[in-house]
């Protein structure tokens, strides 16, 4: 029997096997059960609810000079984008955008480094580890607005000036660090500690084992932590409100614009910030794919 199989060309084998597998996975007659249509409709509504409102904003931001804040659409142009970056009355969009990006980068770096170190620290159980863990997670539960308020008050009591790179940074870290650590734990749980042991057995120092084994293996996870840190900081409002001092971050600027700007510039701003978010997410996912691909491509040589 085995001799017969071996003599057959490979293509025939796959033909023999293929019908059986497809049959097992999908019903043969192409008809889908009614639950498929029900769930598909539900998913359709979900997508509309998710993107519909944002889509309205994007569309309305492309009106011409006659444009207003509501439908119907009046003309098509990039007028409000130009207006956004040139008109002083719309507020300090460029400055606040600049600050938000810088702040998000600082937060990302600190979050990645601290989360990675916490991940290393929690590899083994230690005395009081659960206490440390819950204290860390506690600040996730605290209402952001209250936490921001407290941070602002504390700075005032200590006689320090609140600013985006001190008090706002601290308030944001109270949110991104526990998040980063939680993600890191999930990432670390897939790290096999025998790899470290093997590195030690082969003569690697602690530092070499971190640099040559842990970081490369965990790289996709670290990118995920970075993405979390960046996006959480970039659109953080509640914790920044009382801590940013005299100069606004972007979410604060947008909020103040909703109070006094009554033109589609506001929508143009929404469109621009969305594009930035997509670029950041795209870059992160791209780098993960690149890491995986680099591992894959070195195999072909």
């Amino acid at each position: 029997m085995s001799a017969v199989l071996a003599d057959m060309p490979k293509t025939d084998m796959s033909k023999m096997v293929a019908p059986a597998t497809t049959k097992a996975i999908a019903p043969s007659k192409g008809g889908r059960p009614w639950t498929f249509y029900l769930l598909a409709t539900l998913f359709g509504f979900y997508v509309i609810a998710l993107y519909g409102p944002m889509f309205c904003i994007y569309v309305l931001s492309f009106q011409d000079i006659r444009g207003g804040l509501v439908f119907p659409m009046k003309g098509q142009s990039l007028h409000w984008f130009v207006d956004l970056f040139t008109q002083v009355r719309t507020g300090d969009v460029k400055g606040s955008f600049d600050r938000s990006i810088k702040l998000a980068v600082i937060v990302t770096v600190i979050t990645v480094v601290v989360s990675f170190l916490a991940g290393l620290g929690f590899r083994k159980r230690f005395r009081g580890d659960t206490v440390v863990f819950y204290m860390m997670i506690g600040s996730l539960v605290a209402p952001g607005l209250v936490l921001g308020l407290g941070t602002g008050l504390l700075f005032q009591a200590l006689g320090l000036n609140a600013s985006w790179y001190t008090s706002a940074l601290g308030a944001q870290l109270s949110w991104t660090l526990p998040f980063g650590v939680l993600v890191m734990f999930a990432v670390m749980s897939r790290f096999n500690h025998v790899w470290e042991e093997a590195a030690y057995d082969l003569g690697a120092s602690r530092w070499q084992s971190i640099r040559l084994v842990m970081i490369p293996v965990l790289a996709p996870g670290l990118v995920a932590v970075a993405l979390f840190g960046f996006t959480l900081s970039y659109d953080e409002f509640a914790r920044s409100l009382q801590t940013a001092g005299s100069l606004n971050t972007l979410p604060l600027e947008i909020w103040s614009m909703t109070l006094n700007v009554t033109s589609p510039s506001l929508y143009a701003l929404g469109t621009v910030t969305t594009i930035v978010s997509f670029i950041v997410i795209g870059a992160s996912l791209g780098s993960i794919v690149l890491i995986q691909k680099k591992r894959g491509s070195s195999t072909k040589g």
């Binding site: 025998v194 790899w195 093997a198 030690y200 082969l202 003569g203 040559l212 293996v217 591992r295 195999t299």
Partner: protein
């Protein structure tokens, strides 16, 4: 002080993880340079802990580990010049076969060109040249094992420690890789210490088989010694291939003694090494399963047989070159005869038949 010899001496080593119970309990053992040594025992018997202590991944609570005349307790694996092959191989998933094998040289600061040349030479030795640029995930189990072996061997250790190296492989591959391990060991000419729970693996590979139970060595010796001359009931049952019977000594007469059993004349056993047998002692004896002959009641016993035990056939399993016949000879223990295929089918038994189980008197072995 530096020595290339890979002879190992374990002197009274103990290991306790909780300070109360000893996982390894006072083990003494000498392993010759260039020997293939197998530790065998059920899970939790401390064999892996001993391996990890020799490797330098665990420190003994007490005792000394001497490699090549030097006490290595407290030294890192690199200083001991040992290397370990982990159970699941622990290949670095992000590195190619070549980079995995070159890892030890890389952390020693060897230049890229030099270490890749050395790695390629090693890759050739384990016949993986066409897979050098693959990642571990793209290799079969057998290939992964060869990478792990090459990675451990590239630093020219004097001792290679293997933690259940064949357990991740399927049956057929296991036999094949077993031979490859032995070939590598002879080629490298270094001491191999191999932990396993498979008896066949141990006796097929090892120069020195060490049978363990609950942190202690039960018997250490050449494979044939341990298999054919088990020291006690535990070793006999664990290594397999033996029927163990127990009974009270009825009389001692010259070079043999008689064990009371459900047989007309009891069981006659040669005294051999056991000189201190007195009437009334309770004693275990072992009879190899392939030494047992089955005779129909009333027929004459083969020459040299003085004992015959009436038994009923419980089950029959065809094993190819022999037939495994399970009998109810002893009330509580299994009693099995391995009958050569041709002998069996010359006059086949069926389940329920009554037969006489017999063996040459000299082949019964008293146990400690």
């Amino acid at each position: 002080m530096k020595s290339d010899r890979g002879d190992i001496e374990l002197a009274g080593i103990c290991k306790s993880f909780d300070g109360v119970t000893n996982v390894v309990d006072g083990v003494n053992l000498k392993i010759a340079d260039g020997a293939y040594c197998c530790f065998i025992g059920p899970s939790g018997c401390g064999k892996t802990t001993i391996l990890r202590m020799i490797a330098g991944h665990e420190d003994p609570s007490a005792g000394e580990i001497v490699i090549g005349g030097q006490n290595v307790v407290g030294l890192a694996p690199v200083q001991r010049r040992t290397a370990m092959m982990f159970q699941s191989y622990a290949l670095f998933p992000h590195l190619t076969v070549r980079d995995n094998i070159a890892f030890a040289l890389r952390v020693r600061g060897m230049s890229k060109a030099d270490r890749l040349r050395a790695a390629d030479a090693m890759i050739e030795k384990v016949r993986l040249t066409q897979f050098a640029d693959r990642l571990p995930a793209q290799l079969s189990g057998g290939q992964q094992q060869r990478v792990a072996l090459a990675r451990a061997a590239i630093t020219e250790p004097r001792v290679l420690l293997l933690d259940e190296p064949l357990s991740a492989l399927d049956e057929q591959l296991r036999v094949q890789m077993r031979q490859e391990l032995r070939r590598m060991q002879q080629e490298l000419g270094i001491t191999f210490i191999h932990v396993t729970h498979t008896q066949l693996e141990a006796i097929a590979l090892a120069d020195l088989v060490v049978v363990m139970e609950q942190g202690k060595i039960k018997q250490a010796g050449a494979a044939r010694d341990v298999y054919a001359h088990p020291h006690d009931r535990y070793v006999a049952e664990f290594m397999g291939g033996q029927n163990v019977l127990s009974g009270r000594v009825e009389k001692v007469n010259g070079s043999t003694f008689t064990l009371a059993q459900a047989a007309p004349d009891g069981i006659e056993v040669p005294l051999q090494a056991r000189s201190t047998v007195s009437v009334g002692d309770r004693i275990d004896i072992a009879v190899r399963r392939d030494d047992v002959a089955l005779v129909r009641p009333g027929r004459e016993l083969p020459p040299g047989c003085s004992t015959s035990l009436p038994s009923r056939v419980l089950a029959i399993e065809y094993q190819g070159y022999f037939v495994k016949v399970m009998l109810d000879t002893v009330p509580d223990d299994a009693f099995v005869a391995y009958v050569p295929e041709k002998t069996f089918f010359a006059d086949p038994f069926t389940v329920g038949d009554v037969v006489m189980a017999t063996w040459a008197t000299g082949s019964a072995l008293p146990l400690a």
